[in-house]
């Protein structure tokens, strides 16, 4: 049995957190993710878990570092400016190889920016954000159902690889109400966290969790181990959705909300005899570079559509590697492109007169 409910995106994430067996949530208010923090404050204690409204995003991510280091599933959530503050902790979590989940319901920037939806934290999420050579797994849901399912998956992936997994949605997905089906029972990925700080119980050698290695050779070994793990994740965990790309006049690369808008554009374009394909990365890191690279053999023109000034487009260009033109269309400031705007842009790059 499962339950279908009409629910806000942010709350669907909250329900996923609880059903994934996470019992430690540490938050700090920021729009447009507040419904998630609010939801956790009510339902986490009801589930016998811990909810703390921390004094800052810095404190919240470090509470996650402590709780997850102590062996529990733990998470925090925020929106763009708050995620910037968490970068210190994210780098430490990566360095210490602690499994943790961070949700970013993105708003527009830079600076305090605005509270409207954006996808302008792509660079920060997939290229680092914090200091040092590290990666996060980054999941990009595109509807309420995926907000739920990818949040559950985030905990499994984090435990599987001892990595930080970020769920990246834009503010519109967080705020939108949609039908979401909750499974009655999730079956969390089981792993023995024998490295965790639980107290030795005088039964084993001490565990200590750290990311500091003063000896260069020792630290290089750690870095090589991290990189080897990242190569496995790149090989095994890529997720994407490809629609209508073979023989398309143009393929749009888009994730999250812009992928949804693009699906409608595909129908409008078809009415005018233009075949539009869609490649939607679901994992932003690992980026589906092989699938994007293969587009060069399937279509003549590629365009990345984003709620940014052009971020993911850089990875698309790297994957295509100059074999086909890669264009970009984006809106910023919290604006969403309309279907008509995207269609006009498609016509422009295809050399057809916009109406």
């Amino acid at each position: 049995m499962s339950k279908k409910v009409l629910i806000k995106g942010n709350e669907a994430i909250g329900e996923a957190v609880i059903r994934a067996g996470c019992r430690h949530y540490f938050g700090y208010p920021i729009t447009p993710q507040n419904e998630l923090t609010n939801y956790m404050s009510k339902y986490m204690p009801e589930a016998g878990g811990t909810f703390i409204q921390a004094e800052s995003e810095l404190a919240a991510i470090n509470m996650v570092y402590g709780a997850a280091g102590a062996g529990a599933r733990a998470m925090t959530s925020s929106s763009s400016p708050g995620i910037s503050l968490k970068q210190e902790g994210i780098s430490y979590i990566a360095g210490a190889e602690i499994p943790a989940v961070v949700v970013n319901v993105m708003r527009c920037g830079p600076g305090l920016g605005g509270i409207m939806p954006a996808q302008s934290d792509y660079f920060q999420a997939v290229k680092g954000g914090g200091h040092g050579d590290y990666r996060n797994i980054v999941l990009a849901p595109n509807n309420g159902q995926e907000l739920y399912e990818l949040t559950v998956k985030a905990f499994d992936l984090s435990d599987k690889y001892r990595m930080l997994v970020m769920v990246m949605a834009d503010g519109a997905l967080g705020q939108m109400m949609e039908n979401v089906e909750f499974r009655d029972e999730e079956t969390p990925y089981k792993v023995d966290k024998e490295w965790a700080t639980t107290g030795t119980g005088m039964e084993r050698k001490k565990n200590y969790i750290t990311s500091v290695y003063i000896n260069p050779d020792e630290l290089e070994v750690v870095n090589m181990r991290l990189q080897a793990k990242y190569r496995i994740v790149e090989k095994d965990e890529v997720l994407y959705e490809e629609t209508n790309c073979d023989g398309a006049d143009i393929v749009i690369c888009a994730y999250g909300l812009t992928a949804r808008i693009t699906r409608n554009v595909m129908k409008l374009a078809a009415e005018e005899g233009i075949k539009v394909g869609l490649l939607r990365p679901i994992t932003l890191w690992p980026f589906p570079k092989d699938a994007v690279s293969a587009l060069a053999d399937k279509t003549d023109v590629i365009m990345s559509v984003e709620l940014s000034a052009g971020q993911m487009v850089e990875d698309v260009r790297l994957a295509v590697n100059g074999r086909k033109p890669v264009h970009f269309y984006g809106r910023t400031g919290g604006n969403l492109p309309t279907q008509g705007e995207i269609l006009d842009e498609i016509k422009k790059v295809l050399g057809k007169e916009a109406e």
């Binding site: 430690h24 703390i52 470090n62 709780a67 280091g69 210190e88 030795t200 001490k206 200590y208 750290t210």
Partner: protein, 247 residues
């Protein structure tokens, strides 16, 4: 040969601290207290950023290293997962009273059932002797080369006095480790702080006036004297909260 009395909770290894530094003594006192309370197997410590960044190598129990100033937040996360364990942070003055002021204040305000050992040596040791939030007026450091001028650089923070104003902090005491007599009373305070946590009463902290001969540009003996003549003048020793609690 008399038996060598080495605390069980302290690794039998050489520490990296400078001669005359209080860290080694503070580590030993903490280890002795943990031994005496029989809590080695359920203790989880938080190592800070600063000279004692890797003290997980010196203690025998589980530990997590924390980012600068964030130890109380890390301890909060651990304690909420393992409420029956004993969780403590070990932090210096830059860590606790500058970059981590928010974390320590709010851990105290939440009444987190953790213990903090606060090493106040009035200087940033690890980074070569810069001015700390607890550097005394007139004290020469690498970033106050003419001596701390309060008109330009403000006043040293009295963290025990500040924290004792917070309802969630139930035990606050300032001690020193510059001579044997003071080390013994410091040990009593640290033991009580841990017992307060074990009794579930709330947040406990012991501020330890400590030496840094290297960065103070003094000999170990002169450094110990300076604690008594200058530091104790500004940072009054004593219990600020919880003296009446019986645990």
């Amino acid at each position: 040969m008399p038996e060598r009395l080495h605390p069980k909770s302290l690794e039998d290894t050489t520490m990296h601290y400078c001669p005359g530094c209080s860290h080694g003594i503070a580590h030993r006192v903490v280890a002795e207290v943990i031994d005496e309370l029989g809590i080695e197997g359920k203790t989880i410590g938080i190592a800070p950023v600063g000279c004692s960044y890797n003290n997980y190598l010196y203690f025998t129990f589980d530990m997590q290293q924390a980012a600068h100033g964030r130890a109380p937040a890390v301890a909060t996360g651990i304690k909420r997962v393992h409420p029956d364990n004993v969780v403590f942070t070990y932090q210096g003055d830059g860590d606790l009273a500058a970059i981590g002021t928010a974390e320590i204040i709010h851990a105290a305000a939440r009444g987190e059932k953790i213990t903090t050992i606060f090493i106040n040596n009035a200087i940033y040791g690890m980074t070569s002797g810069q001015m700390a939030p607890t550097t005394l007026e007139g004290q020469v450091t690498t970033t106050s080369p003419l001596g701390r001028n309060t008109a330009l650089q403000g006043f040293p923070l009295k963290m025990s006095e500040i924290l004792s104003q917070i309802d969630g902090a139930v035990f606050v005491e300032r001690v020193s480790m510059h001579d044997v007599k003071h080390i013994l009373s410091a040990k009593r305070a640290i033991k009580k702080a841990f017992k307060i946590q074990m009794a579930g009463l709330g947040f406990s902290i012991v501020e330890v006036l400590s030496t840094c001969p290297t960065n103070w540009r003094l000999t170990p003996v002169e450094a110990a004297k300076w604690v008594e003549s200058d530091m104790m003048e500004y940072y009054k020793l004593g219990n600020y909260k919880g003296a009446e609690l019986e645990v």
